[in-house]
Amino acid sequence: MGVKKEKHKMPEQPPEERIHNFNEVPLGYPVEVAVEEAKRCLQCKNRPCTKGCPVEIDIPDFIKKIAEGDFDKAVEVLKTKTSLPAVCGRVCPYENQCEGQCTLLKVGEPVAIGRLERFLADYERMKGVKPPKIPESTGKKVAIIGAGPAGLTCAGDLAKMGHSVTIFEALHAPGGVLMYGIPEFRLPKEIVKSEVDYIEKLGVEIKYDIVVGKTITIEELRREYDAVFIGTGAGLPRFLNIPGENLNGVYSANEFLTRVNMMKAYLFPEYDTPIKIGKTVATFGAGNVAMDCARTALRLGAKKSLIIYRRSEKEMPARAEEIEHAKEEGIEFKLLTNPVEFIGDEKGVLKAVKCIKMKLGEPDETGRCRPVPIPGSEFTLDIDTALIAIGQSPNPLISQTMKNLKVGKHGNIVTDENGRTNIPGVFAGGDIATGAATVILAMGAGKRAARAIDEYLKSK
């Protein structure tokens, strides 16, 4: 009997229902399906999937345990390498990572590694997470700046090595983008909280309301701690820099998503933070952030939600699953279209956007075709709300307040592959070093930095 060519389907909330609620869209594998899916794994000797995983999870090993029905053991294998499996099992772009390397791709679809990871993490959470073993203390202290995936991973790994770890977070909640950016229907906040709980159980302390560079300086942290890791992310929203961008009704993706996710504006007035959503909403950009914006707008009651993107479908940077979900939900895609001006009424409220049609030209430095405007193709679209999701830049606060730290031309902190900056004892990783990337890459950076910090502490 040959292997089944396709992944087992995961049950989902039907589109017509889910666009009216903020509940999670995919519902997870039932036990029998997970076991069947796990049996599709060929247990290849050369383990290509593991090489595709930035946090080096022993993928075939945990899948084997699922196939055998030994879920507890499977969780153990998973958790030796990742502290955030329920998160990764939901938002990781597997198609470019582990699943992109799967041998089964030669005959059909890869093993649904992401779904299996999620299955295990959910299984463990339902059962009650086993408190981790806390190793003996080394007496060394590490300060981590930012409680996003990079900082949390670095903290968790260092704690497992016996170091005493304190995270300093500017906001009032942990998780970074996981909390303020990615919506509830894709990553329930309870799940982020329970993963953070686990890291705290490892002995990591998280201090909120501390903006490093303002409330305390890096220099002060360096005096008190043996090493510092900077994981402050790419929080600076980019704007289009076209006329009318400051009209009422134009939001950056970050403002829109922070209001809705972290501040829970979708529950206004039970929660105090408001959000306004018009009938027709246009989101500019086509990455994960843009899909999240467009889908959130629908759930807040928009009648029509558009994605406006200057390149074609092929270049859209979002995860395949997000684009698929967006289409199922009725998001309209206006491709090869670029905004040139926002138009407002006499009260300064957005009412339309002027766009221009684009065509693809020569490939640019990213290898994607450069979009070029088609002269005379301008047209106007009536819209009530505009969401700008064209990317974020590294947060400049730390580098501004630490003049001798080496910074690249996009404001990113320059590090070697193990997160070492030009200053001994100061490490960095995640979006602050790479520019806006992915959760798993941020986690991988946190993990490698933890190892480098451990080495550094031992050599001191």
Binding site: A170, L171, H172, Y180, Y208, D209, I210, V211, K214, T215, I216, G235, L236, P237, F239, N241, E245, N246, N248, Y251, S252, N254, E255, T258, R259, M263, K264, F268, P269, E270, Y271, D272, T273, P274, K276, K347, G348, N395, P396, L397
Partner: protein, 276 residues
Amino acid sequence: MYEILEKKTLSENVKLMRIHAPLVAEKAKAGQFVMLRIDEKGERIPLTIADYDRKKGTVTIIFMEVGKTTKQLGTMEAGDKILNFVGPLGQPSEIEKFGTVVMVGGGVGIAPLYPIVRELKKAGNYVISILGARNKSLLMLEEEIERFSDEIHICTDDGSKGVKGFVSDVLQKLIDAGKKIDVVWAVGPVIMMKVVSDLTRKYGIRTVVSLNPIMVDGTGMCGSCRVSVGGETKFACVDGPEFDGHLVDFDNLMLRNQRFVEEEKHACKLLERRGI
């Protein structure tokens, strides 16, 4: 959690609170602000630091009860705790010896003006303060500001205290009298800052204003606080809150500050219904 150590009522809807926040107090400088959130369901709002005491580890805030959050905050008492209190945020005021500075404060804007007055006086400036409000009961901190001023002028719209008129009238008189003014600071309602900036522009007098756009995080992450300054978009929470008054697009700021008026009204109504 951050404890309210002291609460004073300055006028019917203006309250002063001293908050225990040692880390903020340690770094606070004139011109900066904090973001606070009262409870789990609260919104994050910015309030300018009105004073700080590094030794005691306290930060003073003064606020007018205008929206849901400030109204709710106004009902809290000494001993109560605020869930989040982050700062100091934004760029501090530029304190140096300019010569003669005119410090214009309007209404609740008088509170954040106070530490700037004090620091500028300590830096050796000749300080002329002009405080104005709609009526007498909305004036505040007159004694404190007077202590650090070489001259003080008070005015009210209805003439209930000081001269009857606007702060800009008083400023105009100073200019007409031939006073050589090096810098003007204007902190208060947007319309006041606009009028003062329009006036000083004519005479080429450098004018610093402190802006109060709607904020969410206060750390430069969302752009809710963006303002147009000299045709460029700036984030008031990290690039400001102080800007060159001659370059600020006040009309846009006024419109942007109207973004959520309806929602705010609705929330206030619900609060009233709960008897607060």
